[in-house]
């Protein structure tokens, strides 16, 4: 599973992208976020402090109850500020 981080989340995790194996029992975005928080305390801290972290699965905006599976591309980022 490919994970991407953008903007200040990328700066916090210290990596723009990483490849992980989805642990057994993790089936949703929320579960994946908890798992990633264990790998990156800064990620957990950012999410815990306010939760304004958005997610895309396979390049579509999704909510935290969205399913995830090995092979997915999952991205985390702050609310977008383009335009």
């Amino acid at each position: 599973m490919k994970i991407l981080y953008f903007a200040w989340l990328r700066q916090r995790t210290g990596t723009p992208t990483e490849t992980i194996e989805l642990p057994d029992g993790v089936t949703t975005v929320a579960g994946l976020m908890a798992h990633l928080g264990e790998r990156h305390p800064a990620f957990a801290e950012a999410v815990g402090a306010g939760g304004i972290v958005r997610c895309a699965v396979n390049q579509r905006h999704v909510d935290r109850d969205h399913p995830v599976a090995n092979g997915d591309e999952v991205a985390f980022f702050p609310p977008v500020t383009g335009g």
């Binding site: 306010g50 895309a56 991205a75 977008v80 500020t81 383009g82 335009g83």
Partner: protein
């Protein structure tokens, strides 16, 4: 729909949009520019990070939605990424239709939707350092948490 690092010429883009189609009665456009002042400080530059692949998909989705909602003859989104200077164009959206209101409404729709969906993040560089721009749609409570999450400090 195009995502590019290079600046673009608004006049040229608009001319190309309507060229050869004499059924078009009106063209509406919105151009976003880099402002020199933000949050009370002077910027030297602004850098847009984006999510290659998803950005293009989202812009295409937004454009398809506009084409489904309004009777448009043509539409255009050009969005830059990378480093830009004050006064430079960031984004251009334009719509052309036989009908004035279709062009005006769909143009406003495109830029509004793009602002909440297209995967771009602004980093403003200036006096004191760089700062990730906060999303405006966040309510007050969310903004406060956002400050907590980012430390609310120049990085």
């Amino acid at each position: 729909m195009r995502v590019q690092a290079e600046p673009f010429d608004v006049g040229q883009e608009l001319a190309q949009l309507t060229a050869g189609n004499t059924g078009i009665g009106g063209v509406a456009s919105f151009t976003g520019l880099v402002r020199e002042f933000a949050g009370g400080r002077r910027l030297t530059s602004m850098t847009l990070e984006h999510y290659p692949g998803m950005t293009e998909l989202e812009l295409a989705r937004v454009e398809a939605e506009a084409l489904a909602r309004w009777p448009l003859d043509a539409s255009l989104i050009v969005h830059r990424y990378g480093k830009m200077l004050p006064g430079e164009p960031i984004v251009l959206v334009a719509t052309a239709s036989a009908h004035r209101h279709a062009a005006l409404e769909s143009c406003a729709f495109l830029i509004d939707w793009l602002k909440t969906r297209a995967t771009f993040w602004k980093f403003e560089e200036g006096e004191g350092g760089g700062l990730w721009v906060e999303a405006k749609e966040a309510d007050d409570a969310a903004t406060k948490r956002w400050h907590l999450a980012t430390g609310g400090e120049l990085v």
